[in-house]
């Protein structure tokens, strides 16, 4: 494997929200294959700055795949070609000398572009606001071991709770549906006894908010699951629907 490669980047540039954007092409030479994808963009930005041009804006923070800040469409794939990998964990050894790499922001109406590759994902916060919580005040809680939770149930809840809210599911879905995100949150709580009291209102309100934000609807293509950097399972979506039906049939659906 060669230690450094030359690549050509086609990067979406957009000066602000609602402004027209375009692709700019930047050649980049001698990129170490050990560099991460975002470090490669750092190198590009350093080069742009040195030549008096404006660097490419992109969100990133922890750079170890957990904060969910980064998220780029790399050659038409959310977070790039690897599976269960956030953009910050993608490394240049995945690319070959001479490659042209197209980099685009997440695209969805509820995720408006703020600048270049930076999008606004606050729609996700508003969905969580609509019931993605247990109503428990600080100081009210019973002893942590008062309610026993079977190991497999706790693990199943954790599987869903591992979502990092990056938005790759929306970005990869042909309908820009947010069902994987919403179902992960709904099922995290639904699998725990502590989530029981608000089970029906939670699913109804979160789904309603998801629709209100203008996400598309799920047509079961499972592309979200393939794009998810945390491997959140599509089966959460199926189970969300069961939760939803149960809520309509038996429970309170609003508050």
């Amino acid at each position: 494997m060669s230690e450094s490669i030359n690549v050509t980047l086609k990067v979406w540039r957009q000066s602000g929200p609602g402004e027209p954007g375009r692709f700019e092409t930047y050649p980049l030479e001698n990129v170490s294959t050990h560099a991460s994808f975002l470090e490669m963009l750092d190198i590009l930005n350093q080069k742009l700055t040195n030549t008096g041009k404006e660097p490419v804006a992109f969100d990133s923070d922890c750079r170890e795949g957990i904060c969910g800040s980064c998220g780029l469409m790399v050659d038409g794939q959310a977070h790039g070609p690897d599976t269960e990998t956030a953009t910050c964990q993608l490394h240049m050894r995945r690319f070959s000398d001479g490659d042209t790499i197209t980099i685009e922001p997440w695209r969805a109406r509820p995720f408006p572009v703020l600048k270049d590759l930076v999008v606004d994902r606050s729609a996700f916060d508003r969905i969580v606001e609509a019931g993605g919580y247990n109503s428990i005040n600080a100081g009210n809680a019973p002893d942590a071991n008062a309610i026993l939770i079977p190991k497999d149930r706790a693990e199943a809840a954790m599987d869903a709770a591992a979502c990092i809210g990056c938005g790759a599911c929306v970005a990869a879905c042909k309908n820009a549906s947010a069902m994987l995100f919403v179902s992960a949150k709904v099922m995290h709580f639904a699998r725990l006894p502590q989530g029981d009291p608000e089970r029906t209102t939670r699913v109804s309100r979160m789904v309603a908010q998801m629709d209100e934000e203008g996400f598309g609807s799920c047509t079961n293509t499972t592309e979200c699951e393939a794009a998810c950097p945390k491997g959140i399972s599509f089966s959460n979506i199926v189970e969300l629907r069961r939760e939803f039906v149960r809520a309509q049939v038996t429970g309170r659906t609003s508050r």
Binding site: G16, E39, D42, D61, C62, E64, C67, K115, A141, I164
Partner: protein, 637 residues
Amino acid sequence: MTLESKIPSGPMDKKWSKHKFDLKLVAPANKRKHTILVVGTGLAGASAAATLGELGYNVKAFFFHDSPRRAHSIAAQGGINAAKNYQNDGDSVHRLFYDTVKGGDFRAREANVHRLAEVSVNIIDQCVAQGVPFAREYGGELANRSFGGAQVSRTFYARGQTGQQLLLGAYSSMMRQVDNGKVQLFPRREMLDVVVIDGVARGVVCRNLVTGEFESYAGDAVLLCTGGYGNVFYLSTNAKNCNVTAAWRAVKRGAFFANPCFTQIHPTCIPQSGEYQSKLTLMSESLRNDGRVWVPLRKGDTRSAREIPESERDYFLERRYPSFGNLVPRDVASRASKAVCDEGRGVGPTGLAVYLDFADAIGRDGETTIRQKYGNLFQMYAKITDDNPYEVPMRIYPAVHYTMGGLWVDYNLESTVPGLFVLGEANFSDHGANRLGASALMQGLADGYFIVPYTVGSHIAGRKLDKVTTDHPAFADAERSCREMTTRLLGVQGTRSVDSFHRELGMTLWNNCGMARNDEGLRSARGKIRELRDAFWKDVRVTGKGQELNQTLEHAGRLADFLEFAELLVVDAAERKESCGGHFREEYQTEEGEAMRDDKNFQYVAAWEFKGVGEDPALHKEPLEFEEVHPSQRSYK
């Protein structure tokens, strides 16, 4: 000015209950008349915002991320301590308190630490009720592991993502209060100034990072929950955007900065691989439960790890510290790793790494067991290094991870500016000179859920707070000074990138104020920092405009503060002529190379008062008294 720690009187284990009773209360109907500004939404900020909202206050929460859930607390891997004694292995509030005071090398305030240990049990209850999916045993009860130098199993965890789950718990509680209309979120806002009116913190000025506008917000208390300053070293395990800006701007408004030289270097990080490196990645301390740390016996041994026979390996932690072995606290492990690398026995292309070997553990427990325990960490390591840690040992090296120092606060978590409270990593209070593993999450949540909600009330009930609006001239003044700084940064129009200055600052600090420090190095570092600061203001190139989303400008502003703060860091390190915890002065060590404290002269908190850029700061000392745990030399042998 004398520092009043406001430690309550009475026996150690009654202080907090007594104090809670003594604190003044705000009547339920009056709480809704008060606004509290919370800056930062990590564990401390989100938990405080949620709890204050639950109590009925109006809360405004500010954060520079796009969502509160991105705060760097999310990256904590290992776990959270609590004195539950679920394992029946002899743990207690007193033992957690004792371990923390000792682990902090007797530079923490006893009363604060005891309170932390007391509320630790409530934190776990609260988190479980919120739906945090902690690891469980087959019988359904919570699982624990032992962590970072503790001889009991008191660490609760959610796979290798404990910080994420705890933060999502606090975040969801906060979002509930947003739903209830009690908390208002202000995303993509960076706090740039604290507004002090009649000596009390009454507001903040933020830059809206999307529009570039400066915005003022008034309130009755300001809570800084803005994390640590590890990124002053450029390379650290902190997220890219962690910064000292909010804390430093508060310092310029009269808050004191305590013990900045207490920085924690974490022993198990993935070594730097090249010049382009943007940050370092931590490998959870829990790996040391099963991994064995070693280097070749012989200097310059270039054989691959598996070719080196057992007899030619030096398991130096097990050799030097037979009773704790690979599980010695972070500061001790880091220094030992540095020592063997300095001897020329380091491994990897740079010679700045030691092996963390799982071959024995895999041989003993099987690969499946190891995969279950550490699968996600091994996968993360493999992604970054392209090595398979199931087959070859990991290469690790210490890196800056956590900062024990922070804004000085009293027992109420209030800084020297009345009404300005500081929570979590941003304050200095609980970890002394070294933090034990799995204690950061505990402290952030303790401050936010169980301490500040009481003490803020006392501030509001106990002080006469006139109604203040953003029309007050102090807000216009603060906005003006923020605007001027932005204009100045954009006006330099030099030739060097912000990043290049930051890397240079980091290198200067790492070399002179990192794992080992000495007087000469610290002096020269101070000079270099001043030169670099001058060079920055003459030659930095900040592209773009002020009235737009401009990440270069954000970074430049943060670096400008780091360049001022760094000087305080080395001043404090030079002033503390002893070795303790993460602060290791080469002049003060035992014959065996262990840290040598000087309790006679340095058993105090160094709280620094800002006197102007480039001026010597003024030192205020808060003497530390130990009623319960008597200072002894820490020994892990």
